[in-house]
């Protein structure tokens, strides 16, 4: 799976979790850019991403996520 394919599925997850059909994320996107992306919805988001890609991030990875680009890196590494 390449980066673009990951983004396609990842955007679908973001749209579902934040219930926003127009949401599109990119490498530089952070929690500050998405309305409702707070520490609590972050937990739901991580669980949904793990579920979508059938992976499980370890704790260290979760703590290290600073932007969507980091998340995509982590997904590609896990898969």
């Amino acid at each position: 799976m390449n980066r673009n394919e990951v983004y396609e599925r990842l955007n679908a997850v973001f749209r579902e979790v934040f219930d926003d059909e127009n949401l599109t994320v990119a490498d530089a996107t952070t929690a500050a850019d998405v309305e409702d992306w707070d520490s609590l919805s972050h937990i739901t988001l991580i669980a949904a991403v793990e579920d979508e890609f059938d992976i499980s991030f370890d704790m260290k990875t979760v703590v290290g996520l600073k932007c969507v680009g980091d998340m995509v890196d982590a997904i590609l590494q896990e898969m």
């Binding site: 979790v17 937990i43 739901t44 669980a47 579920d51 370890d58």
Partner: protein
């Protein structure tokens, strides 16, 4: 019901689509009851709150939540001022094994170990008692799941120093407490966590990163399980099963295969699975679930199948049997009418997806679980929690029989030309007395589930009912009605509050199972007599319209009250007691 919330559900899907589900639920037009629920957590409860909201919205409850600060469940229960300002109608205490503060040290002997266990339990009882004292409302408390680690290996289960032993011991004491305290309910996460798997429940990552216990993936099941108790406390549990026959209660088609050809019994595995399912249903009936049949069959074939010697269920176990060739949605509507139940109180079980769709399309509120493999039927009905008995009154246990007796009454009625003659033939006896402790659970339940014959739709917890019973200013009355077919149990409830010479009727309701039996007149006679004896001269009645109680809009008029006021909120009626003449002469009444 929302399709994504129908059990068995995909928890991960609920987790990620929760916002959309919530939006869709709120867009649906229906009658909803607002409720204030406090969640006091020993771990992060954000997820639990959001998912609990979905399951409650789906059942017509709009919760307003209070959440304690992280981990502050005990302090909040004991002293929380914001909690007091919130005035909870129900308190959920979400704690678990991670909130146990002390275990017997390895050196402890039995006496010392007992001290530690007792002290830990006392910490919990103090919180429950504080809530009861401060808010007088129902409490739903998690019991303890098994710990993630076993310090003593297999010994942990039985050694007095073991943590596993500690949780079992605390659970035992909590059960004792529940048996002795009205309004205290246990959310059995011990079973739930085992069901989900302890390894998945105790996810170290979720605990250390977010202080989530259990892990997010277990929260949909947890919220669902908790919602079943809350729904049941507020009288919204299901009451009846509507069962298909062919390939639902037995394998094969009785009309084609004959009684000898259908699969049931212990000879073959495909028959065994149906035997077990029938036996499970029979047990559910014994604890009060009303049974009925909706089957496309000739009636004699249906009856013959139900008399199969290897089956557990018999035709007499069913309050109604619809075995014909009409569309099932039509039979479902007729069944709901006959049993005086709302469609959302009935669970429709059918192996045919087309039949399920017809019923769920026509009755969006009805529960229509997927019945695609007989070995899963019982488990789906069990874990869906449709019939969660938060309270279990004697009346509940007798319910299945009562509905059957009603069917017999209906048969008798058709043999009389004159309705009064029919009523006389019933030989009715009533007991109409002030609220007594024995009936408080049933009375509270009635205030929560009666929608149609209910003048004010005032919903009451058991504690509210107990308060009225003890108040000097109230006349309270429950009515029990029995006749030649059996005892209907407590079916009517009235409470009136005194202000000077006027008694205001705050609560007036009756179960639909005794409509048109003149029981309402007997209740009015009793109320009038008590009001006169108390020296009052007027009764004031209130009718507050809802979507469902149109049948009683003219009740007070029928009683001879005069209209005093009419506003958008409803109508106010008054009756002078100076020349009151008793109205019911057909029921023999015993009063206190």
């Amino acid at each position: 019901m929302h399709e994504l919330l129908q059990y068995p559900f995909d928890g991960a899907e609920i987790q990620r689509r929760r916002r959309r589900i919530r939006r869709e639920l709120l867009e649906k037009e229906c009658v909803r009851t607002p409720r204030r629920i406090a969640i006091l957590g020993g771990s992060t409860t954000h997820d639990l709150r959001e998912l609990l909201e979905l399951f409650l919205l789906d059942e017509g409850i709009v919760p307003e939540f209070y959440e304690s600060d992280f981990g502050a469940w005990w302090e909040d229960a004991m002293f929380g001022e914001a909690l007091a300002a919130f005035r909870p109608e129900l308190v959920v205490i979400h704690t678990g094994v991670r909130n146990i503060s002390a275990y017997p040290p390895p050196s402890a002997d039995e006496t010392e170990a007992e001290k530690v266990i007792a002290a830990e339990f006392a910490r919990f009882t103090a919180a429950w008692e504080a809530i009861s004292r401060r808010f007088d409302c129902p409490v739903v408390q998690n019991n303890f799941e098994k710990p993630p680690l076993r310090i003593y290996g297999n010994r942990d289960a039985w050694d007095i120093h073991g943590r596993t032993y500690m949780t079992a011991e605390l659970n035992r004491r909590m059960g004792e407490y529940a048996r002795a305290h009205r309004g205290f309910y246990i959310n059995d996460i011990d079973t739930l966590s085992a069901d989900i798997g302890l390894g998945r429940w105790h996810d170290g990552k979720a605990w250390h990163l977010y202080k989530y216990s259990p892990a997010p993936e277990a929260v949909p099941e947890l919220a669902h399980n908790l919602s079943r108790i809350i729904i049941s406390v507020w009288g919204k549990a299901k009451k009846a099963l509507a069962l298909d026959l062919d390939n639902t209660l037995w394998g094969g088609v009785v009309g084609d295969d004959g009684v000898e050809g259908i699969e049931i019994g212990h000879e073959i595995s495909s028959g065994q699975v149906y035997s077990e399912f029938q036996a499970w249903i029979a047990e559910m009936r014994r604890r009060g679930v009303v049974l009925s049949v909706i089957s496309k069959n000739d009636e004699h074939n249906a009856i013959a199948g139900l008399n199969h010697p290897e089956g557990t269920l018999r035709p007499a176990d069913f309050a109604a049997i619809y075995a014909n060739w009409d569309p099932k949605d039509r039979n479902f509507a007729a069944l709901a009418r006959q049993l005086n139940l709302l469609p959302e109180s009935i669970v429709f079980c059918d192996d045919n997806p087309a039949e399920r769709k017809i019923v769920s399309d026509s009755f969006p509120g009805a529960a229509v679980p997927p019945f695609d493999a007989p070995e899963k039927y019982a488990r789906i009905l069990d874990r869906a929690g449709y019939f969660e008995p938060a309270t279990l009154s004697a009346d509940d246990l007798a319910r299945a029989d009562m509905y059957r007796q009603n069917a017999e009454r209906a048969k008798l009625e058709t043999s009389f030309a004159d309705y009064r003659e029919y009523l006389k033939s019933l030989d009715m006896h009533a007991e109409i007395k002030g609220f007594s402790p024995l009936y408080i659970a049933r009375i509270a339940q009635l205030t929560n589930k009666s929608n149609q014959f209910n003048l004010t739709t005032l919903r009451c917890a058991e504690t509210d009912i107990a308060r009225m019973a003890e108040s000097e200013d109230y006349i309270t009355l429950y009515g029990k009605l029995s006749d030649r077919f059996g005892d209907n149990g407590v079916v009517a409830v009235t409470a009136a509050e005194r202000e000077e010479n006027v008694f205001h009727i705050r609560l007036w309701l009756m179960s639909c199972r005794v409509l048109k039996r003149d029981m309402e007149y007997a209740m009015l006679d009793a109320l009038a007599a008590k009001a006169v004896a108390a020296g009052a001269d007027t009764l004031r009645g209130y009718y507050l319209p809802t979507a469902k109680n149109g049948m009683v809009q003219d009740l007070y008029k029928k009683f001879g009250f005069s209209l005093r006021e009419e506003t958008e909120a409803g109508t106010v009626w008054e009756l002078s007691l100076s020349d009151y003449v008793p109205k019911c002469d057909i029921i023999e009444v015993e009063r206190d």
